[in-house]
């Protein structure tokens, strides 16, 4: 408690001056070439979000985990009001990641609580899919600080353990398959792994925050390649079977399965933010559109890419 108070005072004087944003109520509209920009949700929010994770469902509904209020919202369309999903239990949860799941289900990771909760496409709560405390006890893993979650279509899952610099690998049905990596900077080692994404082809992209890179794991869990970034990668998402999106400070990079850059889209400032835009870990989408969280405005920005 004392440490918190001390550091709070410490930062209070240093952080304010970083981004002088001119208040403005108008939605910024200049769009990068070949894209159109839309803000989610369209209507006013009584409280801005800090979207920490987002998941575009096959039904085109959007699931958003809001860190500011620590809640899950389902949005049926950009112009509709977000619907808050029920809390799983009286115990407090803190949502840190979202992932699709086999069938008509969605996984939501409560990182500090060490549980993955399951919902259906309508937002109905279905139960606890896995409790990492039980997994850790059975396999001698110690305390797990789960931060990122990615599940492929067969139910194979990757969970990042941020505090312990490792990645946990699970098979279908949450059968524990092992631990990948340790603290370090070599390929296969991690420094604070955070968000993760699964492609339809079974590979996983993991953010290695401390080493400032993203690492691609193949379908058997071995490291395939990595891509270094100048900034700290905030979040990742698969865009269809062949592409990944990487949310960086103020832009979204699109890479292919060899992690080669395919395109780069700047993230403009949101409402009331002047030029002070920055991405949050929430990123999701398809080949034709990317949704990324914009932290200053507390909304999601839709980059609709004009393709065919």
């Amino acid at each position: 408690m004392a440490l918190s108070a001390f550091l709070l005072c410490l930062f209070a004087g240093t952080s304010v001056a970083a981004s002088p944003a001119a208040p403005s109520d108008t939605l910024p509209t200049p769009a990068p070439a070949d894209t159109s920009l839309l803000w989610w949700p369209n209507g006013p929010l009584s409280n801005p979000w800090t979207p920490v994770a987002a998941l575009l469902l096959p039904t085109r509904d959007l699931l958003v985990a809001d860190k500011a209020q620590n809640r899950l919202y389902l949005i049926h369309g950009r112009d509709t009001a977000p619907v808050r999903l029920p809390e799983p239990s009286p115990a407090p949860v803190e949502w840190t990641a979202l992932s699709g799941a086999p069938g008509l289900a969605i996984y939501a990771l409560d990182g500090p609580g060490g549980k993955v909760h399951q919902f259906d496409f309508k937002g109905n709560y279905l139960g606890v899919a896995v409790d990492f405390d039980a997994v850790a006890l059975a396999n001698g893993l110690g305390r797990v600080d789960a931060r990122g979650l990615a599940v492929d279509r067969s139910g194979r899952a990757v969970v990042t353990d941020r505090q312990n610099d490792r990645v946990l690998l699970f098979g279908p049905g949450w059968s524990f398959l092992g631990v990948l990596g340790e603290t370090g900077s070599g390929l296969g080692a991690w420094r604070r792994p955070t968000m993760a994404a699964a492609s339809e082809k079974g590979s996983f992209l993991v953010v290695d925050e401390g080493n400032r890179r993203v690492v691609l794991l193949d379908a058997v869990g071995s490291v395939k390649t990595a891509r270094s970034t100048k900034e700290v990668p905030q979040g990742v998402s698969a865009l269809g079977p062949e592409l990944f999106a990487i949310a960086l400070d103020d832009r979204v990079d699109v890479v292919n399965t060899n992690l080669e850059l395919v395109a780069s889209y700047p993230v403009p400032a949101g409402p009331r933010c002047g030029g002070a835009s920055y991405t949050t870990p929430a990123v999701t989408g398809t080949e034709d559109l990317i949704l990324v969280g914009e932290g200053c405005s507390g909304r999601l920005l839709e980059l609709r890419i004009r393709g065919d």
Binding site: A68, P86, P92, P102, Q163, V223, G240, A263, A276, C296
Partner: protein, 1120 residues
């Protein structure tokens, strides 16, 4: 159900296929397609872009010349291809423009090249890697068609030396994309044979969705699975339902049609009630019998407060717990004893499967307006009651009763050895049979006489001869059956016809509805009152100019609702009766309502509305009502005022209501004064009544005058009561309030602060505080690298506690602090039923702070880059004090105070990284506090107070001395205090927790091969008074992988944890030796084909003194 599905399919097919029937020539309902076709030299066959072409609509044009069917070309209408008979004389090929009409649904795919849209984006000029970007090529289905087919299939087998063989499989199949130019498809088929742990009673596993199909086109759509059914704009059938089944819709020009056949997820209910003074919630919803043990269908609810529809959400108006059926209002909506709350919802029913059929159509009648016809049917399927089919005797039992049939029995599961009967299953027939076991069974069973030869049980005297027991004798051999609750199956049909037209003169509408509702479809009794009807008509003239800026708008409304009319939807606005001097919660039937009035407006600045109406209910009640309302909006003043009276006539008695009030905002000033006041008097025919006087004044700083919107004000409300036989009103409540609100954003800081202090005084009592408030402050900077949040909610909520006792029991499974520790714990825990609801003050406080070093292009102090920090604090506290004062919620020291706390939890967690990006050396500190305090209600004596506090501090030193080597040293110190207080001597246990870990490893890398060898050793101990546990663990590990081929992991552990007797801490119940032994796990994964991976896992556990356990699993996983 199948019948409905079939009917639905026919409906959809009829809608879709009715189009070509209409199209002998070009149809106005179908779009005209226009294709430009280029035939290469020498080619004479070309295909239009759509098949199923209407031949008579086709027009082929080449260089301005229209080709003739049969002479210039021959068309195959089914495929859409034609053969040119015109010779290619110059050898340059043909360029033909075709216009035609075709069936709107085209199920053949169109194949074309697809450009990767991302390749169009210009790369950053300074990014050389973009120049190496390669085209994606034709590697997926989406590259060659618009229909993506993907999925996965797994097979697994699991075996072990102490378990049976177990097979597992799963399938996930997904189709998405366009099946034709205008038709989009989404289909998901899922078959998951994978276990997961259900929580609560939200859903049964077998009820989970397995299939979803959605077909959409501009003119038609269809869905299978979970669908929402809604019909709005009707007076007697304003529906919204969440259902499972088939739904289709189509539109053709101005005509629209919609149909649904489905199974209801729940039963519709509507509840209206008053709030409790100062209680924000929870307010429990009930089923039709008043039972509160219900599950509300998610998203099905609509909530009105004081007649205003509310929004769900913690930042909006209310939250709802679907599993408990509880509604709680946020601090935005302060609840008083006069708040009118109305809720429409669906709840999961335990009666019968309920089937729904819906069909609706709407069409334009030229200049005669719009006609809309709707039919809705909702009925229980008597063949499928929840909990087993009805026997013939049960059907006869229900048939003998009328619509009010309700057979309730005491047949219940009552707990182990608490009943006289056991439920056994006949191994041959699978039939469930109740067997008499005299006091050692789990069921209490009641039997009902259905006549000789119709039952399966016969009565006998028990061994003492004092009781009658029932023995199973076989179907048809007895005269009794086990009695169970038998709600009568019911159904309801309603047809509605709505006509509306509007023009220059105004708008007129008429609507009629007919209903048939049977409360027991198995009984012919009471069926004479099943039919009902309802009619309404209304109109409003266009504003008529009277000159000099004045306008008049007359209107009228008439409605008749039969006494037997039943609708599955809400017929009247929330608390409709309050406007007619009724209580508002009564059921209204046999209604005749007539209203008329006019509005006089002056230049949009002022509007006076005058209306008069009469309401009659079943010849027993009639009332006349008049209302005068004035609205003013000018630069200086915005306001409204209203005066209305009701004169009520019930037999020989009369009642009356008077209400007047208004609100004024002087908006010319930067800080605008606002005044509001109401006065309401109700005197009912029975001689009772009530009176409310309410005023409020505030200073308002509207949005736009600065970064924040603010309001500050005070108010008072006096509630008086008139009792029968008394001449005057007497005061029952005096409520004073002060409130303030600030909301807005300044630079990177957003702030929401709202507080309302309420003091409530009743005659003879003391003034009680019922405060509500919310604080939300957020700050983000340095592109999100720094973020801080502080939020707090204050309110008063109802709390239902259970009694809990920890009792000594040598065979118990719990320790003296109520922790489950397994056999030999020495104590047992006994819970009582949920107690009565008590109002309790409630505080929710949470704060989060995070700092992560941003990218190099962000300017921050260099030393800040050497620190990463994350902190989280959460307090959730219910206090026995209904009074929530600022000094209480702003002082964290008062939280978890045993003197007042009912249920409090505090959780603090923070971690600091030093040199987070330094590659050779890093240091991390983690600090955690978890604290809880629960005061368990007591049925009689002293309450049981349980406290638990655990504090932990962990430091980790990490090092990569060389890229291939890593090492880590971690130390942990902690303290745990457990305390249980009762009237007897309190239990108290202090435990110190210490541990140290050293781990290190070496990486191996060569080409595509990567590996690592590592070792970890941990020593830990827990020491308490008279109890201790200590031990160590060694964990060697070897990993090896080949990129894209496979990987192998072998890990082992050797554990030796020892405890002295009696310790019941985290290591387990008291035993001289807790865990000792070794374990080996081998995991391998091999990719045998592009999309196929084989996984093998073997684990062998050898605990000391126990039999070894070996488990193996092999799994094949394919993705496509």
């Amino acid at each position: 159900m199948r019948r409905y599905l079939f009917a639905g399919g026919l409906l959809a097919a009829g809608v879709l296929w009715s189009v070509p029937i209409l199209g002998a020539e070009r149809s106005s309902f179908l779009p005209v397609e226009r294709d430009t076709l280029v035939l290469e030299p020498g080619k004479s066959v070309a295909c239009l872009h759509r098949p199923n072409v209407f031949a008579r609509t086709l027009d082929l044009e080449e260089k301005g010349t229209h080709l003739v069917d049969g002479t210039d070309y021959i068309l195959d209408a089914d495929t859409g291809c034609f053969t040119l008979l015109v010779p290619d004389s110059v050898g340059a090929g043909h360029r033909i423009v075709a216009t035609y009409q075709a069936l709107p649904l085209t199920l053949e795919g169109t194949y074309r090249l697809r450009e990767d849209p991302h390749h169009r984006q210009a790369a950053p000029a300074n990014d050389p890697s973009l120049t190496q970007a390669k085209p994606i090529g034709f590697t997926s289905a989406s590259d060659v068609s618009d229909l993506d087919i993907s999925g996965s299939k797994t097979f697994g087998v699991e075996m072990g030396n102490r378990r049976d063989l177990k097979l597992q499989q799963s399938l996930d199949l997904r189709l998405t994309g366009r099946v034709s130019k205008d038709v989009n498809l989404l289909a998901i088929l899922s078959d998951q044979d994978l276990p997961f742990q259900p929580e609560g009673n939200t859903a049964e596993l077998e009820d989970l969705d397995r299939i979803l199909v959605r077909l959409e086109s501009p003119r038609a759509g269809a869905s299978l699975g979970d669908v929402s059914l809604s019909a709005t704009g009707l007076s007697f059938l304003d529906l919204h339902r969440e259902v499972e089944g088939f739904s289709g819709n189509a539109s053709m020009g101005t005509a629209k049609a919609q149909g649904t056949v489905a199974r209801a997820k729940g039963e519709f209910a509507s509840r209206e009630f008053f709030g409790e003074e100062g209680k924000q919630g929870p307010y429990r919803l009930t089923d039709r019998t008043g039972n509160t043990d219900i599950v509300v269908v998610a998203g099905s609810e609509k909530v009105w407060l004081d007649g205003v529809l509310q929004k769900r959400g913690a930042e909006e108006d209310y939250t709802i717990d679907y599993t408990l059926g509880e509604v709680t209002f946020t601090s935005r909506r302060v609840i008083t004893a006069n708040s009118t709350i109305s809720v429409d919802y669906q709840y999961a029913t335990g009666r019968y499967q309920r089937q729904i059929a819906f069909a609706g159509g709407e069409g334009q009648l030229g200049n005669f307006g719009t006609l809309r016809a709707t039919y809705y049917s909702e009925g229980d399927n008597a063949d499928h009651p929840v909990g087993g089919d009805l026997t013939q005797s049960e059907i006869d039992l229900l048939a003998a009763q009328g619509d009010s049939a309700q057979v309730q029995c005491g047949t219940r599961y009552v707990g182990v050895n608490q009943g006289d009967y056991d439920l056994i299953v006949d191994a041959k027939t699978g039939r469930q049979i109740y067997a008499f076991v005299d006091g050692s069974g789990d069921y209490r069973v009641e039997f009902v006489d259905v006549g000789d030869g119709k039952g399966e049980y016969q009565p006998r005297a028990d061994s003492t001869g004092t009781r009658t027991v029932y023995i199973f004798v076989g179907e048809g051999n007895g005269g009794f059956v086990p009695c169970r609750d038998l709600p009568p199956p019911e159904n309801r049909h309603i047809a509605d016809l709505h006509w509306e037209t509007s023009g220059k003169a105004g708008r007129v509408l008429a609507e009629g509805a007919f209903s048939k509702a049977d409360g027991n479809v198995l009984s012919a009794l009471d069926d004479q009152n099943n039919h009902g009807n309802a009619f309404t008509a209304g109109g409003e003239a266009t504003a008529l100019a009277l000159g000099k800026g004045f306008h008049i708008t007359p209107r009228f409304n008439w409605r008749h609702v039969d006494e037997a009319f039943e609708s599955p939807a809400r017929l009247r606005s929330a608390f409709f009766g309050r406007d007619w001097n009724l209580t508002g919660t009564e059921e209204i039937r046999a209604e005749d309502l007539a209203e008329g009035g006019a509005s006089f407006a002056f230049k949009d600045k002022a509007r006076w509305t005058s209306s008069i109406g009469r309401l009659a209910l079943a010849d027993t009640f009639s009332a006349l009502r008049q209302e005068q309302a004035l609205n003013v909006q000018t630069r200086w003043v915005t306001g409204n005022a209203a005066w209305n009276t009701v004169h009520e006539d019930v037999g020989f008695a009369e009642g009356r209501m008077k209400r007047w009030g208004g609100e004024v905002l002087l908006g010319r000033f930067r800080i605008a004064p606002r005044f509001r006041g109401t006065h309401e008097t109700r005197e009912r025919p029975a001689g009772d009544g009530e009176r409310h006087r309410d005023w409020e004044t505030a200073l308002v700083m509207p949005a736009g005058n600065g970064p924040f919107r603010a309001e500050l004000g005070v108010g008072r409300r006096l509630d008086d009561s008139l009792r029968t036989g008394n001449d005057g009103f007497t005061q029952v409540r005096d409520t004073e309030r002060g409130f303030g609100e600030v909301e807005g954003r300044w630079r990177d800081l957003s702030l929401l602060m709202r507080y309302e202090a309420r003091g409530v005084e009743v005659p003879g009592g003391t003034r009680e505080r019922r405060d509500t408030g919310r604080l939300d402050a957020r700050h983000q900077a340095v592109r999100g690298a720094w973020s801080a949040l502080l939020s707090m909610d204050v309110g008063t909520e109802g709390l239902r506690q259970r009694t809990k006792s920890i009792v000594a029991d040598s065979t118990g499974y719990f320790d003296e602090f109520g922790n489950y520790v397994g056999p030999g714990g020495g104590y047992d825990v006994e819970y009582g039923p949920p107690g009565n609801e008590v109002l309790s003050g409630r505080v929710d406080l949470s704060s989060r702070f995070r700092w992560t070093p941003p990218g190099e292009d962000v300017k921050v102090a260099p030393w800040l880059r050497a620190v990463a920090w994350e902190a989280f604090l959460s307090v959730d506290e219910s206090s026995a004090l209904p009074l929530v004062e600022p000094r209480y919620f702003l002082n964290p020291g008062s939280y978890l105070d045993p003197a007042s706390t009912l249920d409090g939890r505090l959780s603090l967690r923070q971690s600091v990284d030093l040199f987070p990006s330094h590659r050779q050396l890093g240091f991390r500190m983690r600090h955690e506090i978890r604290e809880s305090l629960v005061r368990n209600a007591s049925a009689g004596g002293d309450s049981l107070v349980e406290g638990n506090t655990q504090k932990t501090f962990v430091g980790t030193l990490r090092s990569n001395p060389a890229p291939a080597w890593d090492a880590e040293l971690e130390g942990s110190l902690g303290h745990r205090r457990e305390e249980v207080r009762t009237s007897a001597a309190p239990f108290l246990q202090d435990t110190d927790i210490r541990s140290g870990t050293l781990r290190g490893g070496r990486r191996l890398e060569s080409g595509r091969h990567r590996g690592r060898v590592s070792m970890e050793g941990t020593y830990s101990e827990e020491v308490g008074e008279g109890k201790e546990a200590r031990g160590w663990i060694l964990r060697p590990k070897f990993q090896w992988s080949v990129n894209n081929i496979g990987r192998l992991e072998v890990r082992g552990s050797y554990t030796d944890l020892v405890s002295s007797t009696g310790f019941t801490g985290i290591l387990g119940p008291g035993a001289s030796q807790l865990i000792a032994g070794w374990r080996v796990d081998v995991i391998s994964e091999v990719r045998i084909h592009k999309g196929i991976v084989v996984t093998g896992v073997v684990g062998s556990d050898h605990p000391e003194g126990l039999a070894a356990v070996t488990v193996g699993r092999m799994e094949v996983r394919g993705t496509f």
